[in-house]
């Protein structure tokens, strides 16, 4: 391969290798950051800490469940 790229093959290969490494690093950073945020969010919700909108949705669902008409015998 390096014979194909001429006398300066090392510079060309190094450029592409560093570019690949930096792009892979960015992708890994974004994915790892997302996993960390989701884990912390799940931990807060496990402790019962919810967003107001989520809490309101939960209460509305509970209210409609209790208000459901009694099945007629």
């Amino acid at each position: 391969m390096t014979g194909l790229l001429g006398p300066h093959a090392g510079f060309i290969l190094a450029s592409y290798a560093i570019t690949l490494a930096v792009i892979a690093g960015l992708i890994l950073w974004v994915r790892a950051d997302h996993r960390a945020q989701r884990a912390r969010l799940a931990e807060l919700e496990a402790r019962g800490v919810r967003r107001r909108s989520a809490a309101a949705r939960g209460e509305a669902a509970a209210a409609t469940a209790t208000a459901a008409p009694e099945p007629r015998p």
């Binding site: 510079f11 190094a14 570019t19």
Partner: protein, 246 residues
Amino acid sequence: MFQRLTALANPTRFLGLVERLGPWLVGLTLALFAVGLYGSLVLAPPDYQQGETVRIMFIHVPAAWLAMFTYALMAVSALGTLVWRHPLADVSAKAAAPLGAAFTFLALVTGSLWGKPMWGTWWIWDARLTSVLVLFIMYLGLIALWRTIEDPTRAARLAAILILVGTVNLPIIKFSVDWWNTLHQPASVMRLDGPTIDPSMLWPLLVMALAFTSLLTTLHLYAMRNEILRRRIRSLGLAAAAGTAS
């Protein structure tokens, strides 16, 4: 367009958009890189002067364009923070900064790797190289600013002001090769009288630029999603602390 932007002011709606768009953007990015790399490494001929080293151009030039494009994106976000007070403006700017720093680093490193065989030196305090190095330092400074100031609102305002002050560097980078006598060559693509590059090299370069831009768009959306979750966690933590305190 403006209604669409304000419609996206709702973070939950924005997160839904990212979930739907993300996979398509990933596919598009992979396809563009496949075509671009095949064109750059196989189809494009060697340069009559530089030989095979011209193949570094296919990553150096897109990285440099993205370094400047990302900063311009942050400048628009800074206006969104200061003028339109768009709730996702600062999220966009903060998410873009590490990406811009990475592309600027790539432009500097691949330029240096291209300069050593062609110019005989790794670095020279040339107007173009120096102004791009200043851009890299500004990215690092902005990232440090966001990490230093705890209160997001205050950090957003300071970062937005610093970003807008720093935009003066973009025309300096662009026109440095015209204003000063530089070792770095003048523009070969973005020219009023059209590109001076042969089409056999121009189309792989443009496809690689599209691939890099698609990569930036994808990473930026996913990084914004992370930032929105981070801010939700922060406000939930504050609410929980206030709840236990009362």
